[in-house]
Symmetry: C2
Subunit: 409 residues, 2 copies
Amino acid sequence: MSSSSAASIGQPPPPAPPPEEEKKCLNSELWHACAGPLVCLPTVGTRVVYFPQGHSEQVAASTNKEVDGHIPNYPNLPPQLICQLHDVTMHADVETDEVYAQMTLQPLNPQEQNDAYLPAEMGIMSKQPTNYFCKTLTASDTSTHGGFSVPRRAAERVFPPLDFTQQPPAQELIARDIHDVEWKFRHIFRGQPKRHLLTTGWSVFVSAKRLVAGDSVLFIWNEKNQLLLGIRHATRPQTVMPSSVLSSDSMHIGLLAAAAHAAATNSRFTIFYNPRASPTEFVIPLSKYIKAVFHTRISVGMRFRMLFETEESSVRRYMGTITEVSDADPVRWPSSYWRSVKVGWDESTAGERPPRVSLWEIEPLTTFPMYPSLFPLRVKHPWYSGLACLYHVESKISVVGAISLHYCC
Amino acid sequence: MSSSSAASIGQPPPPAPPPEEEKKCLNSELWHACAGPLVCLPTVGTRVVYFPQGHSEQVAASTNKEVDGHIPNYPNLPPQLICQLHDVTMHADVETDEVYAQMTLQPLNPQEQNDAYLPAEMGIMSKQPTNYFCKTLTASDTSTHGGFSVPRRAAERVFPPLDFTQQPPAQELIARDIHDVEWKFRHIFRGQPKRHLLTTGWSVFVSAKRLVAGDSVLFIWNEKNQLLLGIRHATRPQTVMPSSVLSSDSMHIGLLAAAAHAAATNSRFTIFYNPRASPTEFVIPLSKYIKAVFHTRISVGMRFRMLFETEESSVRRYMGTITEVSDADPVRWPSSYWRSVKVGWDESTAGERPPRVSLWEIEPLTTFPMYPSLFPLRVKHPWYSGLACLYHVESKISVVGAISLHYCC
DNA sequence: TTGTCGGCCGTCGGCCGACAA
DNA sequence: TTGTCGGCCGACGGCCGACAA
C-alpha cells in the first residue's frame, strides 16, 4: 500500500505507516454506522458542555484501570465546562479500525456564555445510513473453510441486483472501508436451497481485519451508488493498550490538568471521544444540557425510558424508575449533573444497563407542556449562581421553544 | 492459551486477554537482552534522579508528536527530582512483546536527600546474558518458503550439541519467550554445504510474532540449561498508538502534573520506561548523577567518547568533541542538566547520533585524578543552592570514592 | 559461510451442494 | 432461511540440495 495515496488496492494487509496526521476526513456515513445509532457528534461552531468526570470514565474504561487515589484536586475545575467547539474530526484507528472523534474545545468565560443562541446550535441528528445491513459473524463466516453467508433480504436491499439470466448468478462487488481502501468480493447466488454468498476475497478481508466470530461487519449502499464496508469488533476485554507509554494515573491527571488549565486560561484543548469504548458521551450540545437540566421536571419514583443499542445495530427503549437524585461522586465531583440520577430497570436482564444515568439521557414519562420551568427540580444544590447567566439565555430560547428545540439523538 | 497458567503451549497465536495486572516478574535475563546492552535499571530501594524533561521526550517519541504549546507551567517542578525508588517491574507488551519497565518513585524532601548513602545505592551492572546470539532476520528467514538459517558459530555455542552419528543430525528445540510461552522448533544440520537450520515450527513463530525482514530474534542459553527466545522489532516509524485514548498534549500535561503533584506532596507516582522507544534513560541512580555533575570536569573543546548499541546487539564507542554547554530548552527547562552538553561527532555517519547529550552519558578523555572537585565546571548556573544538601552527601561519598563508585552501564 | 532459488510433495484453503436447525 | 458439514481440487506452505555471493 503506497503511503501517500488515500485510495489503494485493499488486498494485501497494509503494513505501511499512516501518512502522518493529515488524514483526510473519513466518510461520515461509515463513521456513524460504525459508531452506532445512538452516537452523535455536536456541530462545529456551537457551544457544548464538557464533563471531565465522563472523560475520566472513558479513560478508565480504555485503560482498564480505575483511578486509585493520588490524584490532585483541581479546585478550579468545575464538573461541567461550557465550551466553544472549534473542531470535530472523525478518525479510525489504523490498526483496529476502531472509530473515534477528536474535538477541540475552548472554555468560555461567563460573558461569552451569555451570548445569544444561533439556530445552528441545536445540533443535528446523526445521519445513520438508510440503506445498509449489519451482521454478526458466525463461526462459519470466519472459518477458513468457507465464505460469508449474506442474509437474503440484506443482499437484495443493499447489494446491486444480480443478473439472474446467468447460471449461477454472480458478480464482483467492490467495497471501500473506512480508510478508503478497496476490497473486492465475489458475490454469488447458489446452493440448494439458493443463498447469497461472498466467496473469493472474503478470507483475506477476514484475516486482514483480524475478524473473529462475534465481530460484526456492515455494508452500506449510499446515495452515490457506492458500497461501503465497516467493521465492529466485539467488545472484547480491553487490550490494555496504554501500558508502556504513560501510567493510567498520569493519564487521569493529564486530562484533568489539561481541562483545568484550559479553563483557567480560556485556551483550547483537545480530547478524544471513543464511542465504542464508553458509550456515554461526555461532550454534549449546550442546548441539550439546558433543556434537560432546566426544562425537565424529574422526581424520585418517576418512570422514564432510555434508548439503547441492540446487537443488530438498531435501537431499543428500556423502561425504568428513578430511585434517587444525588451526586455520583460526592467527594471528587460534588454538585455534578453527570450521572446524577440513580435508576432501577424494569427487566431482569438489566445487568448490562448502568445504575446511574444523566438527565439528558432519559425521557421522563409525563405529558408535560413545553414551557420553561423557572426553577428546576433540584433546589438543594447551591451552584445555580454559577450558571445564572444561562437563565437569561434560556428565556431567549423559550421563545422559539417547542418548534426548534430538537436535540441530538 | 489458557488465561490463568503462566506457562502454556506456544503454538497457536494467543488471542486471550492477559491475566489482569498480576503478571509475574518476567525473566530478567531475557528482558535485558531484549532491551539491549546499554539499558540498565536502577536498584529498588535506592535513590534516583528523575527528569520530567526526559520523560516528556519519551512520550513525544511514543506518540510521534512534539509538544506544541498550550502546556501549563509547573513552577514548582524542578528539572530533576531526587526520588526514592520503591519498585521496578519488568514488562513486555502482550501484543508486540515490546519490553518496558514500570517504576514507582517518591520525591524526597531535602532532609531525606541528605541521608547517608548505603553501599547498595551504587547500582548494579545490568546482567547481559553471557551465552546468546542475536540475528537480524533476512528475507529468506521470514519468507513462507523456507525456515531459519542459524549462523554456524551461534548454533554451536548456544544450542545443545547435535548427535552427529545421525544422518542428518537433528533435534527438537524448546524455547520460552518473554511471556514464558513455549515454542518448538526442528533444528537440523543439512544441505550442501552443511548448515544449521530451524524448520518445522519456525513459520508459526514468525507469523505469531508478526516478524518481518529486518526484525531480530535472540536465543539465550542460560545457566539453568534453558533456551530463551526474544524478539526485537526493527524501529519502525511509530505505530501512533496512543490516539483514541488521550491527546498527546494531555499526556504531556499528565506526566508533568503527576510529577509536580508528587513533588509537592512527597507522594509516590508511577512511570513507564520504554528502552526501545527512546534509548535515553530519564531515571538514573543518584550516585551516577552526582559523580557526573559534581566529580567530572568538562569544558568546551574537550574530547569524549560515548557508548552506542550496534545492529548486532553489541556495543561500540563513538568519539566526539564538546562544542557547547548550555540549556537544551532554556524556556521550559532552564538550568537543567538534561542534555546540557552540545557535541560534535567525529564520524561522518554521525547523523543518527544525538546533537546533545547529558553529562552522565559521556566519558571525557582526560586522565583526571579521582578527587572531589569542590565546585563543578558550570558556575554560570545559579541553582547550586538548591542542591546544596547534596554537597554534604558528596563529601561522604568521596571517602569511599574510587573504590566503590561504580555506576550502572 | 549463508542468502536465495528451483524442484518437489503434501497439507489445507476455499468452492461446492447436502442436510438440518 | 441460513449455519455447519463432507467432498473435492488446486494453490501454496514448507523441506530439500544447488549454486553463488
